[in-house]
């Protein structure tokens, strides 16, 4: 973790030096400066790098969290739609009951044809042509379905 420090405090050039090395003091320019400059640069670079990594990490985690929220929302929607489908399927099954369809057809004025006849592609009629009329017995309403009345 020491790499996080731009300047190693132990090795700081400002640390007390041995007295014998202080004696000449001929060329003061040589002393600390050449050692400090590159380290500050390196430190800045590292800080910037760490900053970049942290920023990227933050952006990524915000992105992931956002995706997770979206995923959750979609999953919730999926569950909701599945339930909706169950409800609609149940309604459809009830409405598709033959007695219900027959009652609707009868309400539209349709009557069952008891005398089947077929038309061939050549236009010939097989069976007896007849007009569909009221049958001998009522054609709807005698087979109960509690689901339709509830």
């Amino acid at each position: 973790m020491s790499s996080a420090f731009a300047i190693d405090p132990v090795r700081r050039p400002t640390a007390p030096l041995a007295p014998e090395r202080l004696a000449p003091a001929a060329d003061p320019v040589v002393l600390p400066r050449p050692a400090v400059r590159p380290r500050v640069l390196a430190a800045s670079l590292i800080i910037a790098g760490v900053g970049c990594v942290l920023a990227t990490q933050l952006v990524l985690s915000i992105g992931t969290a956002d995706g997770a929220f979206r995923l959750q929302a979609l999953q919730d929607r999926s569950v909701e739609l599945a339930r909706e489908q169950v409800v609609r399927t149940e309604q459809l099954q009830t409405l598709a009951a033959p007695q219900h369809l027959a009652a609707r057809a009868a309400a539209l004025g349709m009557v069952p044809q008891d005398v089947p006849a077929y038309l061939t592609r050549t236009g010939r009629v097989l069976g007896a042509q007849s007009v569909a009329g009221a049958s001998d017995t009522a054609s709807t309403g005698d087979v109960p379905d509690a689901l339709l009345t509830h």
Partner: protein, 580 residues
């Protein structure tokens, strides 16, 4: 100075000792918890933190021949509450009002449930709640309400095939019909799920683990065609009401396969509302077509005639002199209406439905032989369907023990009993060139893993020769064209063969009641028989003859032909002599 140095040397040792001792203490406790008392502690913690709930294995659907659902299970929800937490939260009355509003219930009822035991963590608020209602209740966002999914059995077509499908009780247990008899196919296997719960008992999300997975039940597919079944029921019910009949049935069988395409009963039961039928007619909760045998009457004459033809003892043109009344060998039989001696052929005997004529013809065959024919046609034994409480019918004392009266009476369908399904099967045998194909109601059971099983059925057997069967159908055609109901049963373009029956009914104490059981059995198209329709109506007070059944027969048969795209052949029925 020395003491200080020594103390300085000892200090790390002391620290080390302290660390070792405390580590040892922790290790001991760890071993104690993890190894020595592990299982006891685990059990204790489990009791405290985890809950086990049974997960119901969904019951399988019952489908018709085309895959339309006749019985299915839909999700419903149980709403419960914790009165203790509700009381702690305050404003219970206001919450009860909101809950009742969402449920469509009375606020007082909800409040009563919440007030019954305010210290309890359980109060049942509503059962069998639909998803739409549940969404409304959930929208209230009340933390002390809990919801549990349950299944409810529904029958989307109501009373259509209700007598066959049967029903389940409020507890979900099967009570009648195929729901009961095919329980092994339909029942799901319950599973167990374990979850960890918080202090107040609510499940901690994400902790649910299936200890044992629930297994859904199998799908039962029938041979019944729902739309035809509805039509048969509708036509039968309308006619039964019109003629004042007590009950009746219609059976439609496919000749080549033995499949029952429709078995209509009246009165019928709506499995969604069993009480409506149970309160008026308990016998109607099952299927009388299977469970209620009766003396079939003259429809049985075709069976006697077919047996005579097969044994070579008579031909369609074989003549007899049929009196109105025949007293012979201790037996006394007569025809329904007075007439002088008639010179009838066997065809004529069927067309006129002469009891005396059939008695004379049937006497040509030894009783034991006729008894065997009846048995081979399937009378006296349950059909291959094995419907719940299915009756076998009764051939009386049988040969050689029939008394003289029963000996003759059984030739024209009295003194023995049969179910409508047995009658349809006998006609299907004649229509199928003499080969009896076992009757089928259940097509298959498809288990949850996709394994398909078909119910075991006996092999098809030849009962009479193809020639005898063909001749019998020709005679039935003559009944349809020359009999007194010719106009009522005519389906233009098609050749139809029928036989009527007006049977005296046993009053249950050894004699006959005043009512008649009227019936009609027929095949079409007679030039190549594909379908058999059998109709019976019990005691139609406003029309006490087989004419009561004629429109039901004609309408159902026409619909069968139409629905299966049977093209009218346009050929003419044979004209067999009825007199000589």
């Amino acid at each position: 100075m020395r003491r200080t140095r020594r103390a300085a040397r000892l200090r790390p040792l002391l620290v080390l000792l302290l660390v070792v001792v405390s580590a040892g203490a922790f290790l001991t406790k760890l071993v104690d918890v993890q190894v020595v008392h592990a299982s006891a502690l685990r059990a204790e913690s489990k009791d405290r933190r985890s809950q086990q709930v049974d997960v119901a294995g969904t019951r399988g659907d019952i489908l018709d021949a085309r895959g339309v659902r006749l019985a299915t299970t839909v999700p419903r929800y149980t709403v419960t509450a914790s009165p203790r937490l509700a009381a702690a939260g305050g404003s219970v009355a206001a919450a009860a009002k909101r809950i009742a509003g969402a449920l469509g219930a009375q606020p007082a009822t909800v409040l009563h449930e919440l007030h019954t035991d305010p210290t309890s963590d359980y109060a049942l608020i509503a059962k069998s709640v639909t998803l739409t209602t549940l969404t409304r209740v959930k929208g209230l966002d009340i933390p002390w309400l809990y919801f549990q999914e349950t299944g409810k059995r529904v029958y989307p077509s109501g009373a259509v095939a209700g007598n066959l499908v049967g029903f389940v009780g409020a507890d979900g247990r099967p009570q009648a019909g195929l729901e009961y008899s095919d329980q092994s196919c339909l029942a799901g296997t319950d599973g167990v799920t374990e979850y960890e719960s918080a202090l107040d008992g609510t499940a901690i999300p994400g902790t649910a683990v299936a200890v044992k997975a629930a297994k859904p039940g199998g799908t039962l597919k029938l041979t019944i065609d729902r739309d035809l079944q509805w039509y048969a029921q509708q036509v039968l019910a309308a006619r039964a009401k019109q003629t004042g009949a007590k009950w009746g049935s219609v059976v439609v069988e496919e000749v080549a396969t033995g499949k029952l395409l429709a078995v209509a009963d009246w009165p019928s039961v709506d499995p969604n509302d069993v009480n409506a039928t149970a309160s008026t007619d308990t016998a109607a909760l099952g299927s009388r077509a299977f469970t209620a045998p009766f003396e079939p009457g003259s429809t049985m004459k075709s069976v006697t005639a077919a047996s005579l033809l097969d044994a070579g003892l008579a031909k369609p043109g074989t003549g007899v002199v049929a009196p109105y009344r025949l007293v012979a060998g201790g037996a006394d039989v007569n025809d329904s209406e007075y007439h002088g001696d008639e010179r009838l052929t066997m065809t004529g005997v069927l067309v006129q439905s002469s009891n005396t004529g059939m008695s004379l013809l049937g006497s040509r065959m030894a009783d034991a032989m006729r008894y065997r024919y009846l048995q081979r046609f399937g009378f006296g034994t349950r059909t291959a369907v094995g419907f719940g409480a299915e009756a076998s019918g009764d051939l009386g004392a049988g040969a050689p023990n029939w008394d003289p009266q029963s000996r003759l009476a059984t030739m024209f369908g009295q003194g023995l009993t049969a179910t409508p399904v047995q009658m349809a099967s006998a006609y299907a045998t004649i229509a199928n060139g003499g080969v009896k194909v076992p009757v089928r109601l259940v097509d298959s059971c498809t288990a949850a893993d996709g394994t398909v099983t078909t119910p075991a059925a006996p092999a098809a057997t030849r009962v009479i020769s193809a020639a005898a069967a063909r001749s019998t159908v020709s005679m039935l055609e003559n009944v349809a064209t020359k009999g007194w109901l010719a106009a009522d049963v005519k389906i233009p373009g098609y050749r139809v063969g029928i036989k009527t029956g007006t049977a005296q009914e046993s009053d249950g104490s050894g004699s006959y009641s005043k009512g008649f059981l009227v019936s009609m059995a027929g095949v079409a198209p007679a030039d190549h028989p594909k379908y058999v329709v059998y109709v019976d109506l019990d005691a139609p007070s406003k029309m006490n003859t087989s004419q009561a059944t004629a429109p039901v027969f004609r309408q159902v048969m026409a619909r069968v032909l139409q629905q299966h795209d049977v093209v009218p052949s346009g050929s003419k029925s044979p004209d067999l002599p009825t007199e000589w």
